[in-house]
Amino acid sequence: MSGKRGKQVKNGCMRYLSNRMFMLLTVYMALTGAVSLSALVTDPVPGWLPVFMLTVLAAGIFYLVFRVIIPYRRGENRLHLYMEGLTIPRADSATAMTPETEELMKQMREMMSSKQVLSLSKRQAQYLALQNQINPHFLYNTLESIRSEALIGGLSDVADMTEALATFFRYTISKVENLVSVEEELRNCQTYFYIQKYRFGDRLELTVECDPVDRDGIYACRLPKLTMQPILENSIIHGTEMKLGTGHIVISLERTDSRINIRISDDGTGMDTQTLQKMNDDLARSGKVLLEHEEADNKGEKGGIALINVNNRIRLLFGEQYGLHVDSVKGVGTDVEISIPAVTSDRDIRNDKNGDK
């Protein structure tokens, strides 16, 4: 017998709130009836009867509070947070009013399953080539031809740039896995930065900070593909592009016992408190924001969604305890912290990560 089924049998029908309430009512009515009858036929009323009734009442209240009201409130809170877009519905004893509601929850969850939303996210995560039916090999061959021509013509800068661009596209388009190592992702960031350097020159500096002792451990950890690069892109485009003077971007990687914390900081223009608050609110309810964005996109309205997209993918893969958080002060700079579990194997990542740690 599987563990899950065993648990179901153990919980029995009392896992549903409706059954608990029904049971409580039945027991209460049966006892009240029995006691009333015994009081009618027995004269005088026995001394133990009030004590018994009080005990039954106390037990009933206790059961009502701890087995019905509190689970109901918890379920209500969970649904409220789901409506706000803060969490994903979960079918368990706390929310299941009846078997049908439990089934409904399951279906809703399946609708929002990782696969579907991930594919949505992937599409938004710039799998442009597949969407636009560009043949990647055709693209690489063309870039390789440009590089050869540039080398023949003595234009080494153009050749290097073309090579970087090809490397970047190869990682972005051809690598189809969902999860990559931190090292691969970091290398892609450096390639992207290398390309941007041609545009910004000395106006842009990138530093990677990582404790040498922990480096191997951190680099081996897994994270969703294209997690860091969109944030780096944001830092360059929104943070330092508008800034006068040199913009410094720092990627710092840190490992704790159970997490990897990646912080991408810029000393660019930053954002005001209201924008920051909205950004963090959107990140907290990123599932809903992503769907709203989809609707806006369908109507032809465009808007930046990179951070929310990355956050959503992390939360779907690893759980709601992980994700992004933004700190920023106008005129000082912006930090984006990515928090992911420290796992080195794809098999360690469980499918169901919705906060039930």
Partner: protein, 472 residues
Amino acid sequence: MPVSETLRIEHAGFISTGGVKLDNFSMSMLKGEIMGLVPVDGYGIDALFELLQSNPPLNYGYVYMREKIVNSWDRRGNKMNRVSIIRGRSALAGKLTVADNVFVLRHGFRKYVIRPEQLAKQLQPFMDEAGVDIPADKYADELSEYERIAVEIIKAAVAGSWLIAIDEPEALVSAADLRRLNDMLGRYSAQGFTILYVSSHYEDLVSLCDRIAIMENGQVIKVFKAGDRLPGINGLITNGMRGYGPEMPERIRIARREAYSVRKVLAFENVSEGRIYRMNMELAAGQCVLINNIDRREIACLESLISGRIIPEGGAVSIDGVRLEGPAGRKIAVIPPEPENTLLYPDMSYMDNLCMTLDERIKDIWRNRSIRKSLRQEAGKTAAPDIFDVPVSQLSAEEKKELVYKRILLQRPQAVMVIQPFRASGITSRRHTADLIRQLLDKGTAVIIVSAGMNDAIMITDDIVQYAVSLQ
């Protein structure tokens, strides 16, 4: 080796009485780290301490201690966290000795027979480790503020606290003691204790902390590393202090002095009482003096002397040239720390609280409605008209503080003693307090600011009295 994370708060939303206290609050602290926290507006600090210590129900978010979830929106933690919070109010039992406080009141102390000598012996290594020398048999009531904080830190260390949070120590101890305290915290941090250091003075935190978080409106808006030299940081910190940071223009200060200096309203002549020995001080109307470097025991003594509750053993206290022989009544006002929580009647209306100390100045204040009506019209020029009938409990902390100072403005005492006015408040709140004190000065009231530190008060004072305990 990966470091261990002592604290992680993720997207915490915490609603308490009076609204949202923490909004999308995220912060993490590593083991052995000293994290500075600068509250720009002071909002949410109390809620943060509550969140750290007692796991209240969250609206949303997660709290981890030592990488284990202790509280979340989903499941409320039902245990207290091992977090020690050191604030202005003592957490020690005053009638017990230092050793008793450290060992006997500790969780898990099981002995039935307590041997003070043995406890004193056990305490000594901890004292040495902390670099302090406090007698183990000294009663907690007799400790100086520095000693009290040091004992609370030792107590936290002995109890194996995961996190020690210290709130605005610079407002409680002198600059020299603060340095000793910071050294002590540095030593504990090197031993692996995690320390959260709340202070409104960013510049003081730079040399002590590994990272500094800036908190505004109930959320962390930026975290700096100690070595960060980002342009604009000074602007960020002083933004909240605009109008307060720049010192009072000298010409205004001189004009104010000239206007009032003729009349001496308060004088201490060779006053000796308790720990105060031969104190001399003279205050003119509209003059502001900072008494610095002073401990809570001397503050209590000074408060009693100035309000006439005790007559000094030696010397004399005079108000307006008259020797004080009994209670000074409404001629003197004393504003304790955090007056919004102690000087107001929360169930009474704003108006009733405003009139509370006017009985001496306007005899018929409670019987005569027309006086109260005209008072209301007068006060309405600087306050919202609909605020007068609102119970004080429904006002914000800033409004309450303003009410306290307005009441004293109406009372028109000769002198006001303000005790640690800048304690436990954010940068903007300090600015507000400074403005309120300035209003008192402008009305010709002499103000004595009593504070251990001088960082904030120095902006509004004319003179500084460096207090030193003399050995009699």
